[in-house]
């Protein structure tokens, strides 16, 4: 009985490797005139400020913007044919050990908009945690 108890306790010692971390901010474009339905927008380019190019010449209704795990704030330059906008996000990084065999992963929480040239009422955070289960973090209205 003791051995059985020990085995059952041991089985519960390790967590499942259910990895849900993501450093991607999911941004939906929604059209106010069309009852805030998701609408594609012609994008010339999207870049991480001072770094990686993410998109070029595409029509997209959703952007997936990776925040920099080194930092607690990342800015993105979003260029369209007629204008260029900047979106900046702050976030909190927290390292999480799932289990020794699974490893450690970085999760981002407390997402907030720190820079926004779309307009003060044009950008809304709908979920401030980044992970693979979340369908949308930010809505941009146009």
């Amino acid at each position: 009985m003791v051995a059985g108890l020990w085995v059952s306790v041991s089985c519960f010692e390790e967590g499942d490797c259910l990895v849900t971390n993501s450093n991607i901010v999911v941004v939906d474009f929604r059209k106010v005139a069309d009852k805030k339905a998701v609408q594609p927008v012609a994008i010339s380019s999207v870049d991480v400020l001072g770094g990686v190019n993410l998109y070029r010449n595409q029509e997209l209704s959703q952007l997936k913007l990776p925040v920099d795990p080194h930092l607690t704030e990342t800015h993105f330059i979003i260029r369209q044919a007629s204008k260029t906008d900047t979106l900046g996000f702050s976030y909190r990084n927290q390292s999480v050990v799932l289990a020794p065999d699974c490893g450690a992963y970085l999760y981002q929480f407390d997402l907030a908009v720190t820079r926004n040239t779309f307009g003060p009422d044009k950008v809304r955070i709908v979920n401030n945690a980044l992970n693979t289960n979340i369908k949308s973090n930010v809505e941009v209205y146009f």
């Binding site: 920099d68 795990p69 080194h70 065999d101 490893g103 450690a104 970085l106």
Partner: protein, 225 residues
Amino acid sequence: MVIMVLTTTASFAQAVSGDVEADTVAILPRERQSYRPTGLRMGTDLLALIITQQQKRFAGWEVNADVDFGRYYLAFDYGSWANQYTVRNGFYDNNGRYYRVGVDVNFLLKDPDRNMFFLGFRHGRSHYTDSIAYTFTDTNFGIIEKIEVNPGVDARWSEITGGIRIKIWKVIWMGYTARFKFGLKTEGERGVRSYDVPGYGLTIRPSTWGYNYQLFVRLPLPKKK
């Protein structure tokens, strides 16, 4: 008075006749419970000491004490806990002190040696540091090396306990304690979410189990004259 006389007479009659089975229930005056403490029991967790000797990744000790108030025992535990985990892509460690305080209820009331089988509860508190160092690769930002430290985390939790205490020889006692731990709350976590909390254990599930094998010395307290 009349009832007493009749009762006494009836009892005497049964005793004299001898052919009636004693199917009456004796109503004895309830023994008055004394809540005066009779002994202070102090000990240590041998499992913690053995694991410290056997495993490189754990170093800890725990001392335990209880004092009786009738069938109730005020219990106190204090310990040290330092744990290291090698994870797939790095290293996690913690170091801290903890205590638990609570009450055990003895269910062996008539044992002349005061051996006990008990159930009880504890409130646990822990103060510790923990840290992590690991690497991972991000497709956009390259290789990331993370070193994060929580300089001072406070944790609290609850326990339901159960176990035994057995007198081995004179003032030497042994005991087992099983602990069902739940309701963990932490404050002060910064860059790393605590994986292991001193005194509590792994945090990956909402509850966990702990186990002690203890050796005690019980010092009798002076009796009231």
